[in-house]
Structure formats: C-alpha cells, structure tokens
C-alpha cells in the first residue's frame, strides 16, 4: 500500500540556479497527484527530490525535509534505500537494452541480490499484469529484448519494472510525452487502475491528462527576481476539479485557460 508524502520547505539548486523555492506540499496516500506548469518551473526537479535522484547530478543541492510516511528520506536512510521504496518512470522509455523482457522486470530484485526463481516468476507475471502488458508479451518473455517493443510497450515495461520491487510511491516524469495518443491512453488507464494501491505523482505538460488522471493537482510557476534570477515555486495546490474550474490564483487561471504557457 502507498504512503503519503510530506514535503516541507524544499529548496533545490543546480549550481547557482535556484530551481525550486521553498516548496511545502502534502501529497495524499493512494491517490494520483499531478504536477503541472510551464517548462522550467521545476516540476521535474521536484519529483527527482522525492526519490533523491536530484543529487545524482554533481552540481545539484537540496535543503528542506521530505517525509515518506514516517520516514525522513534526507535524514534517516541512504538514497539507495529511498529509491528502492519509491519507483520512478522516466520521460523516455528506458528499458535495459541488453536484457530480455523478463530480465528487465526482474532486474530490480535481481540486482539487489534476490534469486528465488519461483518468486521471480510470480513477481514478473504480477507486475506485467499490473502494467497491462502481460497479454502482449507473455509468449516472448525470455526471447525478446526489452528494446524490441514499441515505445508504448516499452514504457509499460518500465512501469512493470518499477512495480516489481513493490514500491510505496510511483513517480512518473511526463511518462506519456514521447508516446502517441493510443499509447498515452493505455498509460492513463493504467494510472487509474494503479492508484488506490500506490501513491502516484505524475508530472505532465498536458493539462487534459492531469484532468483525466489526477485527484489532486499542483500548479508550479516561474517567478522572476530583480536581477534576472528566476526560480520555480508552487502557486496553488488543491483538488484537480478546483484547479481547472475555480482556481484561486490569477496565474493558475491564466495557465489552465491557455492564456499563458
């Protein structure tokens, strides 16, 4: 089951660039939360701070606290442990190119030293079923490379790979932006079927997508300072319905009605 995410006073930098300014955001457990906003507003950086991928960039820096359930991820545990509990799906499908479909899904467990064949078989089947890919690949599990699938299938394979380690949270960084409309629809259906069991945070450029899949929506925007500095900040965070029908902030309204961004 998923857990909630408590983000308090989060600041992030890339070198001298202050990418995220003082974000405080409480993401509910077992729901889908969308992050929307113009390019460069820091929404991708924000999700990368939740599983500590941000700090894999040597010039990146972060302050503030992020709690996953009871766990303070910047104080209590190692980044490796954090990422084991928080799955991530990236913008472009990135299956391991030399591995079979089966090995791709099993990789998270195997690379952490898990070897029981029978359990791996079960996990691979369960994960592929959850990712709505099982019927399409069950005959080629060990015969075909993950890279031989279509883009949409590859992305669902990556989702299955993330689900296989049984995460509590699933982060999705524009998971459908490289896909055609039909594959996008499949991913969105998948998000619907997964929420309830996992806490899902999805970054999207596509407002209709946020409206279709998310229970809560956060709108990020870019603010500019006097001397040319710019940073991303959270403008408004409420139910998806409110964001799109009755936003409190003028900037949100401009964005969702298409006047800006």
């Amino acid at each position: 089951m998923g857990v909630g995410i408590q983000v308090e006073h989060l600041n992030a930098w890339y070198g001298a660039n202050h990418t995220l300014m003082d974000i405080t955001l409480h993401i509910p457990a077992n729901e889908a939360t969308a992050l929307i906003g113009p390019s460069g507003c820091g929404k991708s950086t924000f999700v990368r701070c939740i599983n500590r991928m941000h700090e894999t960039n040597p010039i990146a820096r972060v302050t503030g606290t992020v709690r996953i359930g009871e766990l303070d991820i910047y104080a209590d545990v190692s980044p490796v442990e954090v990422r084991r509990r928080i799955g991530m799906v990236f913008q472009r499908p990135n299956p391991f190119p030399t591995m079979s479909i089966y090995d791709n899904v099993a990789s998270g467990l195997r690379l952490n030293g898990f070897r029981n064949r029978r359990v791996l078989d079960e996990v691979v089947e369960r994960s592929l079923i959850q990712a709505a890919l099982w019927d399409e690949v069950k005959d080629d599990l060990k015969k075909k490379s993950g890279a031989s699938l279509s883009g949409g299938q590859q992305q669902r394979l990556c989702i299955a790979r993330a689900l296989a380690v049984d995460p509590e949270v699933l982060l999705m960084d524009e998971p459908a932006s490289a896909l055609d409309p039909i594959a996008t629809g499949a991913i969105e259906d998948l998000i619907h079927s997964l929420k309830g069991r996992f806490t899902i945070v999805i970054v999207t450029h596509n407002m209709q997508q946020a409206a279709r899949v998310a229970d809560m929506t956060a709108f990020f925007s870019i603010s500019k300072g006097g001397e040319g500095e710019r940073w991303g900040e959270l403008v408004e965070y409420t139910t998806t319905e409110t964001i799109f029908t009755n936003p409190a902030d003028k900037r949100t309204e401009d964005y969702v009605t298409g006047r800006f961004g």
Binding site: V80, R85, G87, M88, N112, S148, V165
Partner: protein, 291 residues
Amino acid sequence: MPSRYQPSALHRFRRIAANQLASALAIASTVIVVAPLVAIFAYLLFKGASSLNLAFFTQTPKPVGEPGGGMANAIVGSGILLALASAIGVPIGIGGGIYLAEFGRGTRLANFIRFTADVLNGVPSIVMGIAIYALVVLPQKHFSAFAGGVALGIMMVPTITRTTEEMLLMVPHSVREAALGLGVPNWRSVLSITLKTASPGVITGCMLAFARVAGETAPLLFTALGNEFWSTSLGEPIAALPLQIYVYAISPYNEWHRLAWAGALVLILLIVLSVALVRYVTTRGVLKGTA
C-alpha cells in the same frame, strides 16, 4: 502539376553525378583498405602452406641441417604468453576504463591516468621490452615466460582502458538513471548494467589489444627470450611464434625460411581463430531486437 521548386535538368544531372562520384570513391577506398589484407594473406598462404604438415604442429625445432621439425613449442609458448598477458591486461584495462568513465570523471587523477594511457599506447614495444627486462628479468636474474607475459599484458592495458572508457561513455544516461531509480547501488549498476550494455564494444577493445600483442616480437626479445626446446614453465625462457619467425627469417637457411613463412601463416590463423571464437561465444546469448 509539377512542383514550383522542380530542379533544373542541369542541377539534377550534377546531383546524380556527385552521388555516383561519391559512391565510386567510397568503393575505391574500401578496395584500397582491404586489398593489402587480402594480398598479405594470399602471399602467406602461397609461401607457407606448402611447409605446413603434422610435424609442424607436433615437433620442436630440429638443429640446422636436419630436415623436418616444427614449432609446437612456439605455438604452445605463444598460447601461454597470451593467456598470461590477457589475465593481466584485461582486468586492469577494464578496471581502468571503468574508473575513467564512471568514478573519476573530471578528476585530476583520471586526467593523469588517461594521459598516461595515451602515452603508454605510443611507447615503442622494444622500449616496453627493455623496461620489463630492467624491472623483472634483472632482479630475477633470468629470462622467463612470466616476464614476457607481463610485458605483453602491460602493452594491452592502454588500448583496453581507452576503449572501455569510450564504450561506457556511449551508454545512454537514461539507462544509468533507470538502474539508480530502482534502488540499485551505484557500483552494482556500473558492473551489471552499464558495463553489460557496453560489453560488445569492450570485448572488441580486448580483442584488438590481444591481436596486437599476439604478433609482438620486440617486447619478448629481452623477456621471454625464446627457447628451442619444450618448456611450459613460467619461470623458464619460453618459445613464441613471433620470436621463432624472427630467428628463422633472418637465418641463412632455406629450410628455416620456409618454416618462418609457415609460422607466420599459423600465427595469423590462430589470431583470426581466437578472435572469431570469442565473438561467437560472446554473441551467442544475444536476444532478438537488442539495440
């Protein structure tokens, strides 16, 4: 209705001509590159094949004047030297490449190592032989297969290190992120994901280095020395095909010249064979549709 941007007849002719000229140049270059290879191999076959017989592969050299004899000791000796060289050169070379690409990127130590590797790559092989003579042979007070293997192994390192680094850097960042995102420790991700993804290129680098040192004579002159008799001991001087070819080729005897040709042919065949074998073994398990 034809497009308004239809090219003129002259322009079209020029384009077709340029295209054909480029194709012709490419084909000509290919021929120029491949021709010497084919020529060398054909000439070796022509000069060496007639002296190849069972005795060549089973007997040790006979004294001057006695007919027959073979290079069995040199074939086995080359095998031992190359096995030892690979055991030293491949792990150190790959390890160095991993350090340069994954852990030391941008550090001064890495830049220093990269520079050293490039210089080492350009060091004449005879200098390598003298260096190992001073470092290994002199302290031990005798020539040995061990010293020869070390000399060849060190010569393999820079090539393998640099190709491993290049190949690792070609692995897309997204693949590394995928592994890290699964909660895989970095060292594990480097070994099981990045290196595995880059393995075809890394293996090519190892094979290049192997093929290069397999034909080296100079570094063996003051290290392995050569041996007219059977020896498989690492502590004794050992025969090697390139050394034997060298000795026979500069001798004044016709019989030895013929054996030298045969030895050269066998050396090339063995290199081709071992490279093909490694290729076969390492590509057997590759899946359909692997990018």
